[in-house]
Subunit: 349 residues, 3 copies
């Protein structure tokens, strides 16, 4: 029998199935440096141990999206090796800070299954959980993905579509953020004077800058996360595929948008929750990514007057600067849009 893993097909999943993912990973300052070089983040909390300590962290925490990508990467060989498309995210919560030296592992539970009418594919819903070496949960999120069937005629499990929240409740936010020391947050060092109170619901922010993605960059990033999805790495196969070229990992677009958002949201130092996300179009090397954000809501956190939560929708585009805030084009997505990400960030009050 072959020892090579071929990944699960749709008919291999069972509702309630719990899958322990392989390859636990110790995150180090080396990972932080490479993420820095690949993305270019400038949030002071993640950049400076001294800054992080001054406000109440023991040291700089690992960037939230780096934690997300590492956990996500572990799920790929078990969940989405035979995926056609990554359809969406919901109910993402960052539950504890992660620091260099922590070891992350991941488990997924199948919480929904629905065969498509073509009988060639089905949708798998999983809740994935990342844990640290003490067994503490650091991240939880739901994603759903369209997975091929091995055989069209194979019987499929009964349909079950989970009920998912439209957004993470504000009172559930902040578990991964220590209470900030009063008046300790240095807005000059952080790069902006704009704090929670300065943002208004409905406000749109063009993040202005653009960054062109190279094949080497997205490949290095995706390997850093031990994400093995084949479409990102194998030009020989992809040259005969849907797009004729390698596809950039959608999470790389999320990170690029997050980093670009510093220009306008410099004090949004922590991603606390992911309400939803949709990869609208593929990104390919050579294209230039831009982003803009809209403030969808503002929330106070129960019992905390140190930080407030902004609900943002950040749109990333390809080869299209965002001064015109592109999103929809009639009933359809604007053709330049790559990503819509709906998430909560925390900001000092």
């Amino acid at each position: 029998m072959s020892k090579t893993e071929t990944g699960r097909f749709f008919e291999d999943f069972r509702l309630g199935q719990v899958i322990q993912h392989a390859t636990p990973r110790t995150i180090t300052t080396g990972d932080v440096a490479l993420y820095q070089g690949l993305l270019g983040g400038r949030f002071a909390v993640q950049s400076s141990d001294a800054f992080a300590r001054s406000i109440g962290y023991p040291r700089s925490p690992i960037d939230d999206l780096l934690v997300f990508h590492i956990v996500f990467g572990k799920t790929v060989p078990d969940i989405s090796l035979n995926a056609v498309a990554n359809l969406g995210y919901a109910a993402g919560s960052f539950l504890a800070p992660v620091y260099p030296g922590d070891t992350l592992s991941a488990v997924s539970e199948v919480i929904g299954l629905r065969e498509n009418s073509s009988r060639k594919t089905g949708i798998v819903f999983v809740r994935s959980t990342g844990c640290n070496q003490h067994g503490g949960k650091v991240l939880e999120y739901v994603r759903w993905v369209m997975v091929r069937k091995r055989e069209e005629k194979a019987p499929a499990p009964p349909d079950h579509v989970p009920t998912l929240p439209e957004a993470v409740a504000a009172q559930a936010l902040g578990a991964a953020c220590p209470r900030l020391k009063p008046t300790a947050y240095d807005f000059a060092l952080a790069g902006s004077r704009h704090r929670f109170a300065d943002y208004a619901v409905g406000e749109k922010i063009d993040h202005v800058d653009g960054v062109t993605v190279e094949e080497a960059e997205h490949q290095i990033a995706t390997r850093l996360y031990q994400n093995t999805a084949r479409v990102h790495f194998n030009q020989l196969a992809e040259s005969k595929g849907r797009f004729g070229r390698r596809l950039v990992y959608g999470g790389h677009v999320m990170s690029l948008a997050r980093v670009l958002s510093f220009n306008g949201l410099a004090n949004a130092f922590h991603v606390a929750g992911i309400n939803g996300g949709r990869h609208v179009a593929p990104l390919f090397a050579g294209m230039t990514v831009f982003a803009w954000s809209e403030v969808l809501a503002k929330a106070e956190l129960s019992g905390r007057d140190d930080v407030g939560a902004l609900r943002l929708r950040t749109i990333a585009t390809r080869d299209h600067p965002c001064a015109d805030f592109p999103r929809r084009s009639g009933d359809e997505d604007h053709p330049a849009v790559l990503l819509e990400l709906d998430y909560w960030v925390l900001m000092p009050r």
Copy 2:
């Protein structure tokens, strides 16, 4: 007199000569992270301090081939700066684990010399040894390389071709691997249930996945190892050279093949010895690398029932998936083959 190093030519070597190589190197978790990003390894022992500790290491050891490349890199300015071709490897043994914070240095002894009949080049055999900061040997291997003569008429040293073992003896393996704690190895976290007993001599494994190499990737990798061989970096010179383009460091192919081999050999967590290796054809950026392996032999280690050794031959190819196990084409190497590597790995029993 010029202060620029031009490297040794064939007639500069003497049998028995011992060369202390420059540039000792402290290996850090930063190197580990960059190696991770460039190659994408998934072996749990090297990925997770917690996993490594659970089975008996004090923490994750440095990847064996990263140790090899760092030691190899040091030898380049002294041994192979004027090399035409890297001909082969033998008698490679990993003698002690290397951990982040260890400092490696390298020494080579000239153990063989043979002028070629053209009198333009000769073959130099060296035994290179990597040591840690305590003077302990961590790696020893023999390589032979064809080196240019400075002057065709220069007298050459007398021929001496060393006797090299066909393979590293199984009883010599395992010095760099601590005794595993019984039952501690978690096969689910490691990514495969297949252990030593599950592999059979003659078994062939297609590692399935392919990875396309970019110029930036192999250049960054080769610089990480402080390997200064000019063919990897200088497009201006190489555009006028044999191939018209930069050549990927052969060791990068070894690492790519090792990483691809995870799919089918996920529990082969340690490269214990290198019996032989041959760079069959050059790799260039833009090509996609695939690999397959054959189990050549199995061996128990004397006095150890925790791990067994598999002798593998891994073949790496360019732009050719390995479902057909390509190796020979009549009397010749299959045209897609890049590398044949014959080595011992350890696997839990």
Copy 3:
């Protein structure tokens, strides 16, 4: 009001203005590893903790130019986001060693302003200072940069051109270099037997090797330094710009030249001061960089017999090997020249 930073224009600067730059940064061994992979340095002091300790450092210090780039990067959003050209450097002094774990922040003082006759631009002179987490100065340097005016008619501040030293005084050098333990410096491990006494004023050294730069490499390097200058990253905008393509950060050329200079200057382990620097022509990806150096002066350091200072002028070129020591072509710069850097290095006596 927009929350997006657009950077200062010429008329926004005031003589004597002090600007605290954002984004303090903790430098780690991860940054060291990535800098290693991107540049390929071989100086033993920066490569090996054991070597550094043997001569009197507590561990390997951070490469001087990496410190420079990190400090420089912080100044970009405040000083040169609207720059047309980076004109020069002077009075650069490395004042204390930086080690992994140190956190750097930066402040700049405006020390000169001069509007150009076109009234469209002006020259801003700043003294930038990098400090560690204890408030100790680690680096100080002056740069001047041509900055756009927001409005041509805007009144400009009165002209003031600072007096800058032609070179850093030799007696001011060495603050970042501990006194070396006598006889401890191992010239074999360092890679060259040539010490301070072996270099003569007027001596020219061709550094021989060339290295081709890839887009991914310079982008990763520049992001590692959190340098946000747009010309390096945004192909969509640059395709319509002056050069039709992304420009490589000039500091990357400085680092490439420094690393190439190892071949001929292997014991020049510390850059102690930067007397002047000029980016003569732009570098683009795909080009191959070469370098040569001339010894401009030699100096003893007051009260120190362990090290001496060489004043070097290193010239970097594009697509032009340096055996002919290219610099001038009649009254003009040689067309291959990218950079002239005039600096002090320390070398064991």
